[in-house]
């Protein structure tokens, strides 16, 4: 079976720092996603990508950049970390129809 690997599992950064989260999948899926998970607010879409070098903004893209360097990898950059964005960031991948979706275990971001 396939797997989605997110690195690092825990990320501690200083306020104002630029931070990068990485995600790799071996499902050969076309589409990859970045979600932010906050307690009581569900999973909010930050960015998604339907193919290599493609980027689509989600509802929460402000303050973030993303990069789909190749089909198997999708990176998310927090451009200037803020204390109010401490959360778990989840990466997912899916087939083109969106009927088969798998998630990584997440990166927990702490801003000090």
């Amino acid at each position: 079976g396939g797997i989605i690997t997110q690195t690092p599992k825990f990320l501690i950064g200083q306020e104002g720092q630029k931070l990068t989260l990485k995600c790799q999948q071996n499902f050969n899926h076309d589409t990859m996603y970045w979600y932010r998970q906050d307690s009581g607010k569900g999973l909010r879409l930050i960015y998604y990508s339907i193919t290599e070098n493609d980027l689509q903004k989600g509802d929460l893209s402000e303050g973030y950049d993303a990069s789909r360097e190749k089909k198997s990898s999708f990176s998310l950059t927090v451009t200037s970390a803020q204390k109010n964005e401490m959360a778990v960031f989840l990466c997912a991948s899916s087939n083109r129809a969106g009927t088969e979706v798998f998630f990584g275990k997440g990166t927990r971001l702490t801003v000090v």
């Binding site: 989605i4 076309d30 589409t31 996603y33 979600y35 009581g40 607010k41 569900g42 999973l43 909010r44 879409l45 998604y48 339907i50 193919t51 493609d54 689509q56 989840l90 997912a92 899916s94 087939n95 083109r96 129809a97 969106g98 009927t99 979706v101 798998f102 998630f103 990584g104 275990k105 997440g106």
Partner: protein, 115 residues
Amino acid sequence: GDSVTQTEGLVTLTEGLPVMLNCTYQSTYSPFLFWYVQHLNEAPKLLLKSFTDNKRPEHQGFHATLHKSSSSFHLQKSSAQLSDSALYYCALSFFHQGGSAKLIFGEGTKLTVSS
């Protein structure tokens, strides 16, 4: 715009009682609907997804019926178990520009089952 609404943030039940978690949606397309379950410190996993042929999906004792007339996809189980305690997300997907799916999630319902 397209959205998913889960009205209960927290549901607390005694083991053996029936479970019903609400999910309604808005979409300009004909979406697929899903239920995902996330146990503590684990990744969300697919629990159920809707079919296009009106079959009722079932898994691990849970079932859900897509009602297009009321835009609902409520999750049900006849008898709750302690191991059902988890965070449940309702989600929809639809084809977006470029011919790929966009996934939208509800706010989640935390189910706690006690003995």
